[in-house]
């Protein structure tokens, strides 16, 4: 069983005790690694109804079988898996960089953190040695400062660090876990879970060799994928980057603007990917083992935000820009830098600021409520001030730091209609009113509003279907995409490289076998993909989520797109959503309430979980 380290590390933060267990080969093959293995381990180590911010909620850090190898983008990823404090559903996010590869070399496939440390600590994993070290001197520091301080303290500048900022320490439900300064496991409030355990950071040094089962076959694949990475399937990421989407989505009238007031931003040119690259992108850098390199580092060289630096992607640019109505790129870069500084998910933060501005414009939140911040759409100063408040949990920031769902519940006055989220996770940069396959995919996504569980928006945008129509067949489309994406996040390979897998399952099965030496057929891999999506649904079912949670934000279902253009008047009705949900559940072999059946569990070799579904199946 090469590729895998063969070991799972358990750390009880309450007692400081650690132990390792062998990774079972059958489990590894069935759940692959990454989010698949992570969800399996989370489910096995938690009890139903666990409070996400309690010591009893395990936080799993999982790697894939290719982590640590030279496989392009495959060597470098890691995934955090837990129960999300934002949604009460599966909380997971994948990040890339070099951290995952280092952890694999330290000899682990997964780490399970349970309990809660008495005081703020950081976990220092030095191959076999695992220590809980005092982090009181790191309290309040940004992830970047934390990383530098830990490297200084340990005296090794190649140590890799993932950490939380002040937002995570203050249990903000939109806090992320950041590694290597600009990479984030951003979504679902994972930073709060690490913070709730009094863990400031995880620092790793791994010195072991990573070897693969079939070196010649593997290196042939690496060579082939290096070529593919230079081809058309990754061109977007290598050139303008994901920020190219600003003008594309704006032209298609599917870019939610000013808290979903419109689907089109009149100042899109000013915040376009083209403008960003021309004026601000200073360097494009790469994660470990990646010949594609896509990380666009933007630097502000002059003006009031001089010196600001952040990695900018479409989602962060959209959320902090068009979604708040802000049309100044330098302020948006500063805002992204502030999100990194406090350890906040830039997407959820931007959407939360957009929500506040909408509340202010509609008179729900007054100038006084906002501590004097002039939170009109488009006010860049207000954007930056609100992020500071959220990061520090000061004033209005104390309410906003838990995201729009929790904020609306506290604010009241019908503000929940302005809170654009699904299951408690803030929306992303695709207007679901005119992208109906995407709307279904967001509704059923196990971690809430999310383009990354399937990128079904591409089916709509590329015109493969009528994007304004809800019809049978969309369920199967979403299911198939979700299955591919579950594998990407379990292997773990980068989603920006998804196009290089010309034959998804064949390529991945061959990669799996050449790395691990474990035979893997296309059929077995397809079953693993389905199993991974099913275990996510099992977790959500166990934690009390049902069909009614597979819904859409209020504006998506009640406020038609107002912009003159090709999609004017579009929105999603409950009937349309119901039709697509029925179709999706049917294609998954689940009950009309979205519960996996015992028959399906048997088919996938998951009978150990039938106690979760039996009472709900009838």
């Amino acid at each position: 069983m090469l590729g895998y380290a063969g070991k799972v590390l358990y750390v009880d933060l309450s007692t400081g005790k650690t132990r390792t267990e062998k990774l079972n080969e059958e489990t590894a093959k069935k759940y692959i690694g990454g989010i698949g293995l992570g969800m399996k381990l989370w489910l096995a180590n938690s009890t139903a109804g666990v409070d996400p911010l309690s010591p009893q909620n395990p936080l799993v850090l999982a790697l894939g079988p290719v982590s640590g190898t030279m496989f392009p983008t495959g060597g470098n990823g890691h995934a955090f898996i837990t129960k999300s404090p934002a949604t009460g559903a599966v909380g997971e996010a994948v990040s890339h960089g070099t951290f995952g590869a280092e952890l694999k070399r330290a000899g682990y496939d997964a780490i399970i953190l349970t309990g809660k440390s008495e005081r703020l600590i950081y976990l220092w994993i030095d191959d076999d040695s695992v220590q809980l070290l005092d982090a009181s001197q790191l309290a309040g520091k940004s992830p970047s400062e934390t990383e530098d301080a830990i490297k200084d303290e340990i005296g090794d500048y190649y140590v890799r660090v993932a950490s939380i900022g002040l937002a995570g320490e203050k249990l903000s439900k939109i806090a992320s876990i950041i590694n290597e300064k600009t990479r984030a496991a951003g979504r679902t409030g994972l930073g709060a879970v690490l913070g709730s355990k009094n863990v400031k950071a995880i620092a790793v040094r791994g010195t072991r060799d990573i070897t693969v089962a079939k070196p010649e076959e593997f290196m042939d694949m690496v060579r082939d994928f290096h070529e593919r990475m230079k081809g058309p399937s990754t061109q977007k990421y290598r050139t303008l980057g994901t920020v190219e989407n600003i003008l594309v989505n704006n032209t298609m009238f599917c870019m939610p603007t000013r808290n979903y007031s419109t689907a089109h931003f009149e100042d899109a040119e000013k915040v376009s990917g083209e403008a960003l690259n021309e004026k601000y992108v200073s360097k494009i850098i790469a994660c470990s083992s990646c010949p594609m390199r896509c990380e666009h580092e933007a630097v502000v060289r002059e003006g009031p935000y001089k010196g600001a630096m952040a990695r900018i992607e479409y989602e962060s640019l959209w959320a902090l820009g068009p979604y708040t109505g802000v049309n100044k790129l330098d302020a948006i870069i500063k805002a992204a830098e502030l999100c990194n500084y406090y350890g906040l998910d830039a997407q959820s933060t931007g959407v939360t600021v957009g929500f506040v501005m909408d509340c202010h414009e509609k008179g729900i939140l007054t100038h006084d409520d906002l501590g004097g911040i002039d939170a009109h759409f488009g006010n860049a100063d207000a954007l930056l001030q609100l992020i500071e408040k959220i990061g520090k949990r000061e004033g209005i920031g104390n309410i906003l730091a838990d995201g729009v769902k929790a904020a609306a519940a506290k604010i009241g006055k019908n503000s929940e209609k302005l809170a654009q989220h699904i299951k408690g996770l803030e929306v992303t940069g695709y207007d679901l009113r005119c992208l109906k396959t995407a709307a279904l995919s967001y509704a059923v996504s196990f971690r809430g509003a999310d383009h990354n569980r399937s990128s079904a928006y591409a089916v709509d945008l590329k015109g493969k279907v009528d994007r304004l129509k809800a019809e049978k067949g969309r369920g199967k489309l979403v299911k198939d995409l979700e299955d591919t994406y579950a594998l990407l996040d379990s292997f773990i390979v980068c989603k920006n490289a998804r196009g290089t897998f010309y034959k998804d399952l064949q390529d991945m099965a061959k990669l799996y076998s050449s790395v691990t030496g474990i035979d893997m057929s296309v059929e077995e891999l397809a079953a693993s993909a389905e199993r991974i999506n099913t275990i996510a649904r099992l977790i959500n079912t166990r934690e009390g989520l049902t069909r009614k949670d597979d819904t859409l934000p209020w504006k998506v279902m009640n406020e038609p797109i107002p912009d003159d253009g090709p999609v004017k008047g579009a929105f999603v009705t409950q009937d349309e959503l119901d039709l697509m949900l029925d179709d999706y559940y049917l294609s998954r072999g689940w009950t009309p309430d979205g519960v996996p059946t015992t028959k399906k569990l048997k088919e996938l070799g998951m009978e150990e979980f039938k106690s979760i579904v039996e009472p709900k199946e009838a």
Binding site: G68, T69, M70, G75, T98, R105, Y158, K181, T182, T207, R208, D209, I210, T211, V212, P215, M219, H226, M229, K230, S282, K283, I284, I285, A286, C287, S288, S289, C290, P291, R293, E295, E297, V299, M309, R311
Partner: protein, 165 residues
Amino acid sequence: MVKIHERKFVSCDPEKCVGCQTCEYACSFNKEEAFNPIKSRIRVVRENQVVNMAVTCRLCEDPACIAACPRDALTQSTETGIITIDKDKCNGCGWCIEACDYGAMMLHPETKTVYTCDLCKDKADGPQCVKWCPEEALTLVTSDVLAQKARISAIKKLFQEKGQP
């Protein structure tokens, strides 16, 4: 006497280097049959997000590593400039590591003797890091060719700025 056009080494252009570590993986796989950056003869430094550069042996004309070795374990080929380590003589004291201004001399975690870049002299297609570098940031060059390139780009820039053909 070594001719000026014979002594090549692996040079990294920081303008092109993206810090992907592909060179480290290629090197350690070629030399050690394993993916392990700490066994790579070339190492990547990400000084900050926008400053990335890979560093390996410069094949210096008067190598400080050789001068620093009290056991005469290090020798330099007069033809290629490649530094060879006599593993029987090396006791891993690390003076050569301290002496090298580039951090290109490293201690092997298992053999506990030092090692450095040998330009993959056993490989017909030359240094594997150069071959694999996806950004073409690494090149096998002589000092003279580096100087030539610098001169050419300086002149190009000057005449572009002056708006002349």
